[in-house]
């Protein structure tokens, strides 16, 4: 429940801004209606408004001196398998389990604030760019375990592909099921912020924000964030690419990727006389002594390994692969190639964030 005074301030900030155009007034009125309906269904959206920022459309505090709160109760979370594209609009397949009117509200929300506002077009721009990369470059990205572009776009139905990418960039796992979070999915990402608050019964963002409201989506590194989400971000960790190397006559396979428990030693196994390390953390801006420490721990169960040397070897190989990839990107005349170049440079930079050990 918000106080009368707070509500007045909220309405004043919406209604009495100087020099608002008619379009702007309509936009604000629509937003207010959307938020009010959302509250009526049981959600909370206090002191927030959607507008364009440095990262595209995002949510901002109406009054930065006040706390914001966004909360989606579990009963308003939308299972990803309960979504469909209908005549180009994202709608619920079945809205019987939701409050009355929610299905219509959700379709309006998607059409005007999410999928239809910017998401579809920005996903299409990025995905088209990926598809137009040269075959050798696509092959390189695949070999490094970063992306299989052919598989990602089977090309049968472009709209369905875009829709699937849309879901993949917004879904969260809650109790083993995948959901989209109405309203909260409008919040952009920053690796410096904390993640969503996963309460019992709801998912929330709370706090005071001077500028755009940002949340950390997930653990990631710059290159994979770019390929998965379509934007560049100076992530604070670096994970290995997929590679193979020889370490003192021992074949080592590094299965690259994101370790979602990055502060634990990576998993390893022995297969066909090769040692496989799964998704080792190679660098961390906030905890630069941890990556080597964790890798040493991961190596304890294997004989004949010099963990420090192997850690250096994996770093060396990653650097060489990234330099090679960035060089290849220089030859591509494509806006996405420029974006990927930037991600590769961010990746090279973040991978340097490892110092000694604990």
């Amino acid at each position: 429940m918000i106080s009368w005074r707070r509500k007045q301030r909220h309405l004043q900030s919406l209604d009495y801004r100087p020099k608002l155009s008619m379009d702007e007034k309509i936009r604000i009125a629509r937003w207010k209606a959307l938020v009010e309906d959302f509250r009526r269904f049981g959600g909370i959206a206090e002191n927030v408004i959607q507008r364009k920022g440095e990262l595209g459309l995002g949510l901002f505090p109406i009054d930065p001196s006040q706390q914001i709160e966004l909360r989606v109760p579990d009963h308003l979370l939308v299972k990803t398998d309960n979504l469909k594209l209908l005549d180009g609009a994202v709608v619920l397949k079945n809205d019987r389990s939701y409050p009355k009117g929610f299905g219509e509200w959700y379709a309006d929300f998607q059409a005007h604030y999410s999928w239809g506002a910017e998401a579809r077009n920005s996903i299409k721009r990025f995905e088209d760019g990926l598809k137009s990369l040269s075959d050798p470059l696509q092959k390189t990205l695949q070999n490094l375990g970063l992306i299989n572009i052919q598989q990602r776009f089977c090309g049968i139905n472009e709209e369905q592909n875009l829709f699937q990418r849309f879901i993949a960039t917004r879904q969260i796992n809650r109790n083993g099921q995948l959901f989209l979070m109405p309203m909260i999915e409008l919040v952009n990402h920053s690796p410096m912020q904390s993640s969503w608050i996963m309460d019992e019964g709801s998912i929330a963002i709370q706090g005071q924000y001077d500028e755009e409201i940002l949340v950390r989506y997930s653990v990631d590194d710059p290159l994979r964030r770019c390929l998965q989400y379509g934007f560049n971000c100076k992530e604070l960790m670096g994970f290995s690419l997929r590679t193979q190397l020889i370490h003192y006559d021992q074949k080592i396979i590094v299965d690259g990727g994101i370790n979602f428990e990055p502060m634990k030693p990576c998993r390893s196994s022995v297969q066909n006389e090769s040692i496989i390390f799964y998704k080792p953390l190679l660098s961390s801006f906030k905890s630069p002594r941890i990556p080597r420490t964790l890798f040493r721990k991961a190596c304890r169960i294997h004989n004949g390994i010099n963990p420090d040397e192997l850690f250096d070897q994996i770093h060396s190989r990653n650097r060489l692969l990234l330099v090679g990839l960035t060089r290849k990107l220089q030859g591509e005349n494509n806006i996405i190639a420029k974006q990927l170049t930037s991600a590769c440079l961010d990746q090279i930079s973040i991978l340097s964030e490892h110092l000694g050990s604990k």
Partner: protein, 348 residues
């Protein structure tokens, strides 16, 4: 550049002064003008005796030509031969134009890149090519790319300075009474000019080469409670521990080797050895801090170069990529060498 017969006549003259130039001819190759074997099945033999080496302070521009100021100490006719050599095969053939294009290209880069290179000790246009006496400045740059240290002198080596560089090639043979390059060569006759790394080879000589070593850029960093000044650049004895000293509470580290593709365990080993003389330094962490700063500076340079057009910008991009690649070659350390030294009793 004259005809083949001119070239052979020119070599005959060189031989009369005591030089050797067997089985070689000049032509265009992958690296521009260079020397190639006439018959690849036979060895080439290039030799310039010490008496024909020209100290750089004895070289001047006269009417646009590179000449020896005073040729009295050389065999009769050598001064005129040297003038024609420079005009037809070196300075006049390609040397002046290439040097000018590179220097102008560097000066034409965005200010932010120039500032960045200055800050990390790579390039300072104010000193290097201020433009107050362009011809003399060009000659100085040209000489810098061709001179070599020989018996405490900086000298130019006619004929041998026509050879191009490859990091994997053998260095000049300086063991005798002159400078020689000999042996069988399938393709272009190449030589390793000196110890360097990719970014400095580019800025020093104007071309990209995947050098096998990587040295640090210049910067300061905070290591624990110590300020560390890293002096960048490549030492002449890369496989010796770099210099380290304490100056007004600052640790000064002189030209540390950071990477070597042929001896990847040596860079960390050498830094550990260098740091033994000072307390309060964690050599492992410092080594990684220096690497980190280098990577970030090079990445920053590449970011600034994005979208910058032109041949020199492209070469600089390649130089940064080559440097990043070269700097990746460091793996572990040589425990045997570290234990050996630790076990050696100190000399009283």
């Amino acid at each position: 550049m004259g005809s083949a017969s001119d070239w052979h006549a020119f070599l005959d003259e060189f031989r009369t002064f005591g030089g050797k130039a067997e089985n070689v001819m000049q032509r265009k190759g992958a690296f521009g003008m260079g020397l190639f074997p006439i018959d690849p099945a036979k060895p080439v033999d290039l030799f310039i005796p010490d008496e024909l080496l020209v100290s750089i302070e004895h070289i001047e521009l006269r009417g646009g030509e590179v000449v020896i100021k005073d040729d009295n100490s050389f065999p009769a006719g050598y001064g005129d031969w040297f003038r024609r050599y420079q005009a037809n095969y070196s300075w006049g053939a390609e040397g002046r134009e290439n040097t000018l294009a590179f220097e102008e290209g560097l000066k034409g880069l965005p200010d932010s890149i120039g500032m960045m290179m200055k800050r990390v000790g790579l390039y300072n246009s104010d000193n290097r090519f201020p433009g107050t006496d362009p011809d003399q400045e060009l000659l100085n740059r040209f000489i810098q790319t061709r001179c070599i240290n020989r018996k405490d002198r900086r000298v130019i080596m006619p004929m041998i300075d026509l050879l191009n560089h490859a990091p994997s090639a053998k260095p000049y043979d300086m063991s005798g009474d002159g400078i020689a390059v000999a042996g069988l060569h399938d393709g272009e006759v190449l030589v390793k000019y000196s110890v360097s790394d990719p970014i400095r080879r580019l800025l020093g000589y104007g071309f990209n080469a995947p050098e096998t070593l990587g040295f640090s850029l210049s910067f300061r960093l905070q290591h624990r409670d110590r300020l560390v000044v890293v002096q960048g650049g490549g030492g002449r004895q890369p496989l010796q521990p770099c210099g380290i000293e304490l100056k007004d509470d600052r640790v000064v580290l002189k030209q540390p080797l950071l990477a070597s593709s042929t001896s990847p365990k040596m860079p960390r080993t050498l830094l550990i050895k260098a740091c033994r003389s000072l307390e309060g330094i964690d050599a492992h962490e410092l080594f990684e801090q220096i690497h980190q700063r280098n990577a970030q500076a090079l990445v920053q340079m590449l970011r600034e170069l994005q979208g910058v057009e032109g041949d020199v910008a492209q070469r600089l991009r390649n130089g940064c990529f080559d440097q990043l690649a070269a700097l990746s070659h460091h793996i572990g350390q040589r425990d045997d060498l570290l234990a050996e030294e630790a076990a050696t009793p100190a000399v009283a």
